[in-house]
Symmetry: C2
Amino acid sequence: MNEWRSWPLARWSEVAEAAKQHVLTSTRDKAGHIASSLGAAELTVALHGVLDTPNDVLIWDVGHQAYIHKVLTGRADVFAANRTAGGPSGFPRRSESPFDAWGVGHSSTALSAAVGFARADQALGTQRHRVAVVGDGAMTGGMLFEALNDGGGWGADVLLVINDNGMAIEENVGALHRGGPNAYRGLVESLGWAWIDGDVDGHDVPAVVSALERALALRGPRVLHVRTRRPSVAELGLDESAPGPDHFQSHFAVALASLAASDTRIHALTAAMAPGCSLDVVRAQFPDRVHDVGIAEPHCLTAAAAMAAAGLRPVVNFYSTFSQRALDQWIHDVALQKLPVILCLDRAGMVGEDGATHHGVFDLAMFRAVPHTAIWAPRDGAALREALEEALAYGGPS
Amino acid sequence: MNEWRSWPLARWSEVAEAAKQHVLTSTRDKAGHIASSLGAAELTVALHGVLDTPNDVLIWDVGHQAYIHKVLTGRADVFAANRTAGGPSGFPRRSESPFDAWGVGHSSTALSAAVGFARADQALGTQRHRVAVVGDGAMTGGMLFEALNDGGGWGADVLLVINDNGMAIEENVGALHRGGPNAYRGLVESLGWAWIDGDVDGHDVPAVVSALERALALRGPRVLHVRTRRPSVAELGLDESAPGPDHFQSHFAVALASLAASDTRIHALTAAMAPGCSLDVVRAQFPDRVHDVGIAEPHCLTAAAAMAAAGLRPVVNFYSTFSQRALDQWIHDVALQKLPVILCLDRAGMVGEDGATHHGVFDLAMFRAVPHTAIWAPRDGAALREALEEALAYGGPS
């Protein structure tokens, strides 16, 4: 399966090209997922070429970039069934392949896992490399920082590859993104990680291979910053269909925009999910009143609570599955202080092709237990609009 | 109440001294909480002296340092009833005083709140200062990073005061702590925050006042690093009673140490709570097998999950209330992957004097809903030991 690893380096870009074509021709229905993966094609080939996977631990954060990885690791034949019942998952999954060293789906977990593997390997005397590939979007999540601080503190033997394509789900936000490679370098060096290289061209296979070989020859906590470009959906000849007017999230956007027009206290917040919950539509009308804080749900909810304390009426929208990341902030900052934050959970229930990591099945169990929290589960667009109006009138945690 | 604000600066240290004496004589039963507060006495006087509180927003992270703040803000007379029914809370609480700008108890939330206040104040045209005082222990939490990245990205007009006494609940850990002021500076500058001053002597009132005045005269995201010393419990002539052998956490330590002696796969992890759950006792016997990752519950659970995937049997101990911070990691990394992580929740149920932020009342509602998760609620030390043995034998999420 990996005979190309013994080919001359000059031919590895052919492997990347062939894998890209395979992904493009076998699944065209999810342009967003495809684009992330295609941007990481050469990086993927370089990683598998240099590492001894699956013996070495290679972890893809979130997993959107991992389609090429799947095609290269024995799943090319079944790849057309990707994201359907019985087919490969849209994300790496340990039960699916030994090459999927870690199951992902939610952002910013890969480095914690790599640090955990390093701790166990040290205790057990296991010799292997541990590499976490984290997109710059996921670099806005707090867990990543916690893993940097812990791993840098005790000297975890881990290579962090930052796959910087400038994108979260939409364009990335925050100081780290704005500051570019110097900011990433300042961050990781302050936390005890060595900076191997910055702005390596992620589409130049020999350049990435050479940087990876330098990085892997060293030990301890270390970082390689690779610049890639995610192709646009239009470039790929695909289109990412916008949600129609009858879609639940479209009803949400229409209702929120109309309420915001008559109540200037309403501000909306999200954690890099504006297009996914149609807040981009609201933002087009009220550009100063929609705030994307990056993939950072805990901060998002607590900041919203403070905005409520200061006199606004924040409306937060997450996908239900990500609300699990901010339950403590709901309890501790919103509900205990009885602040008028409205939390809207998109994609509640079973989500279909996104699979197990993305089901929104815990929200009622979590939030029903929290005092002062009023809950609505609207059945259609009209009920959703009424629920928003009632929550605003209630003026408490909703 | 604040007539001392008009006194000459030279006399402000008398105010700090008097407030310290008041705290010491009116409540001596919780040495740990007292020590954090006493170390911040001069800093507290300087902050209230320079700021126009409660008009300006002053937020204390976690709140352990806020006893002097309470004494200075109208609660001296009732302070002896601190942490009892009807008396002041052990933590800042919005409903208790307008000077308590934000309710706290869990770590690393203050900067998110300050950034939220800044966002709302900008929208509403509210003119005031927003200051978050964060201990170095709380600087290990991921939310803090998320707030730095968001606030630094859009230029939030917030002053972050790092109150660096080198302590979390016990001595602080991690790369940031090890790196000292240079590391803090590198971190915050990489995230778009201006570094005003480092290592200001937090016990020298005129020095802190002068540094605060410089910092407050500026605008935008900015940081002042203040060095304080938390007095030891012995210095204060107090003793922090160790838990007796019949205490639940002592039973946990004895049981875990005896299991660890016969099963070398057992490693314990905690998020800066080793003494609170008697893991310090286990650490004395197995120094390489007890890991404190800092106040970073999400990272702690995911790292533990990876340690399990690599062949260890991690036992994690949090206080129940903090498990709310890592529910997503339990669902996404432990339970979905069916990994043998044992999560022990100390201080479940109502916790008494620690109050509303610290009750452990949501754990069953949260974890019962998660597939593959086996739950025990042992009634006594013997049942606790049996539960640990059964969980090890079960070999799944426990």
